[in-house]
Amino acid sequence: MGEHHRIIPVWFFVGVILLIYGVLILAAGIYHFSDPPSTVLGNLHPEIWWGALLTIIGGVYVYLFLPRKS
């Protein structure tokens, strides 16, 4: 999409926001690793693996749809 107008694909924007969110959530998870939040199943450290998942998905989208000069 967007080739005719050279519009940055929407997937790139998706990648950017997921990458930023992934890094933020992963960092929050690591910061609280030794003292996990008192949520149910907080001992499973969902912030870490969900943050890592978002970082990977976001990173892949950014890499694949990064606007490049043709």
């Binding site: 609280h32 949520t39 969902p46 969900w50």
Partner: protein
């Protein structure tokens, strides 16, 4: 009906949560500014240049529907009614979405209409278009106000934010990005919101199932907590109005929801159809709702399952809004409660962003559809027929701002209603349910006349309003509408939609029988039998929309059997 929760809030945000929410607002506005330069022409602003791929149009199609009431309302409904709420995602959506893609989309797309009222103009003439456009414009603004109010209410209850602050901040954000980039911007943001909604909400069912011990563990806990009701089967308890928590009979679900209500919404509500009209070619337009159907089938994972898990794991019962006492929580708070149960700093911000994204995508859908219908179907038709393209784009931007302001006014109006869902279902039954009969008959049968189409649509709308007023004036008349004295509110909605559709179709056919049809040559590109739909026979099987529609239909049937 703002709950008295002064000084109380369910969730406290931390720095990463606030950062995540702030980044979201900055991103959607930045996208609006970026896309402004690409929407100088009417085709770009109102139809996103008609160059969306099937995937983008399909995700946008679903996201525009994943609004305020979808996320919060149906999560609450699933706590109240159990898995019966999944009917609104399965029989209440999938057949109609596949029908839109395979049967109706060719006519919308080939006629090159900008809108559903625009199709009615081509098929039936100006009066039907004006009636449809005016009712759609009113409904859209009212619905947008509901989205805004629901969001502000959630922010107040969940985060303790001031309700007026939430209304104005969300409205201005949507207003800015839609006014700047039109449908282009709305669709871009809807795709973004689609990912955020899924990734923000999916953690609740994952962690919930781990806590409950899987599906079977959850079912066992629900049966232990609520032994008197069946919350986990979708058809088994629908043989009688009194056997299920919804107080509805299978005929209401199959005919009211599955036939009239669902087909009315998914095939004629311009809010969703507009996203598909933006597709780059006919094949993409046909595929978009079919792609959407797969995701729609999965939405119960993030909406219905959290409600069921709440029935299983929450240590206290939730109560109706009307019976809310000090220290108690209402059904409407089920999703935020589950979010607070499982999500710590960071994930909480993502979950709240998912809710905000849902609210904003629904609102943006309403506002962009309103701007198109007002500009093309009312303003151009009634006031300035031959203005330059740039003038209509300017009008579209102004209408977006106007739509936002009217929505804000409506949000304050909605505060006076006792039940948001009652308000929404009433609007839907007035304006959308009858429309399906008019559009569908016009597409498949050349004998239907302009007078028949207009009279049928008017009769369906007026009869629906009449039935609603009748039950409000005398609640015992519900037994007439729903055919049972044991019927509850949801059953009333489904049967009112059914009768409105039946009346529309009957009046359309009868009036057409006594009036003159349009000549055959005027029906080309508009009606089945008079329109040449491009063949897809040269494509490999896996590239044909009909193949994927078949796969979707089979999955739909499998789900019915699994959860029977």
């Amino acid at each position: 009906m703002i709950p008295d929760t002064a000084g109380q809030k369910l969730i406290s945000l931390h720095a990463p949560d606030v950062a995540i929410i702030a980044i979201y607002f900055a991103m959607v506005i930045a996208i609006g500014f970026y896309l402004k330069r690409h929407t100088g022409k009417g085709e770009g602003f109102f139809l996103a240049g008609r160059e969306m791929s099937a995937w983008v149009a399909g995700l946008s199609f679903i996201s525009a529907n994943l609004g305020a009431l979808e996320l919060m309302g149906w999560a609450a409904a699933s706590y109240q009614y159990g898995i019966l709420s999944a009917h609104w995602y399965w029989i209440g959506a999938i057949p109609a979405m596949l029908f839109l893609g395979i049967v109706m989309m060719p006519f919308y797309y080939i006629s090159k209409t900008h809108s559903v009222p625009g199709y009615l103009k081509l098929r039936y003439g100006e009066p039907t278009r004006l009636l449809s456009a005016a009712s759609f414009a009113v409904m859209t603004v009212l619905m947008s106000g509901v989205s805004m109010y629901a969001m502000a209410l959630v922010m107040k209850v969940v985060l303790g934010w001031n309700i007026h602050f939430s209304i104005w901040v969300s409205a201005l954000t949507v207003g800015i990005y839609v006014a700047l980039g039109g449908l282009f911007s709305a669709i871009f943001n809807e795709v973004l919101q689609f990912f955020l909604i899924w990734l923000g909400a999916l953690l609740i069912p994952i962690l919930g199932l781990i806590e409950a011990g899987g599906w079977s563990g959850m079912v066992a806990r629900i049966q232990q907590n609520f032994p008197q009701q069946d919350y986990t089967h979708i058809w088994r308890s629908l043989g009688s109005f009194s056997d299920n928590p919804m107080g509805i009979h299978w005929t209401g679900i199959v005919f009211g929801l599955g036939l009239i209500g669902s087909f009315g919404y998914w095939t004629t509500d311009f809010l969703v159809v507009q996203r598909v009209l933006a597709a780059k070619d006919l094949r993409a337009a046909k595929l978009a709702p079919i792609i959407g159907s797969f995701f729609k089938m999965a939405v119960p994972l993030i909406v219905i399952l959290p409600g069921l898990l709440a029935l299983a794991v929450l240590p206290f019962p939730l109560v109706p809004e009307s019976a809310l006492g000090p220290g108690e929580h209402s059904y409407n708070e089920v999703l935020p409660l589950m979010l607070a149960r499982y999500c710590g700093p960071g994930l909480l911000g993502l979950g709240i962003t998912a809710l905000i994204a849902g609210f904003m995508s629904g609102m943006a859908g309403d506002v962009s559809a309103f701007a198109t219908v007002w500009t093309y179907d009312l303003y151009r038709s009634l006031f300035r027929k031959d203005a330059p393209d740039a003038h209509y784009v300017k009008m579209g931007r102004a209408c977006t701002v106007l739509g936002v302001l009217l929505s804000i006014a409506t949000a304050y109006l909605v505060m006076e209603f006792k039940s948001i869902m009652d308000y929404v279902q009433a609007l839907f039954s007035f304006f959308i349910a009858p429309l399906f009969g008019t559009v569908f008959l016009g597409m498949i049968w050349g004998r239907i006349t302009p007078a028949g189409g207009f009279c049928g649509l008017l009769a369906g709308t007026l009869s629906s309003v009449g039935m609603w007023l009748l039950v409000r004036a005398d609640p015992s008349k519900l037994a007439w509408i729903a055919l049972s004295s044991q019927a509850k509110d949801m059953a009333e909605n489904m049967y009112r939609i059914l009768w409105a559709g039946v009346i529309c179709i009957t009046v359309t056919v009868v009036v057409s029988a006594f009036t003159r049809p349009r000549p055959d040559e005027e029906l080309k590109g508009l009606v089945y039998g008079f329109t040449e739909v491009p063949s897809e026979g040269h494509l490999p099987l896996w590239k044909r929309p009909i193949f994927w529609a078949g796969v979707s239909a089979v999955l739909f049937l499998i789900l019915q059997v699994i959860f029977w």
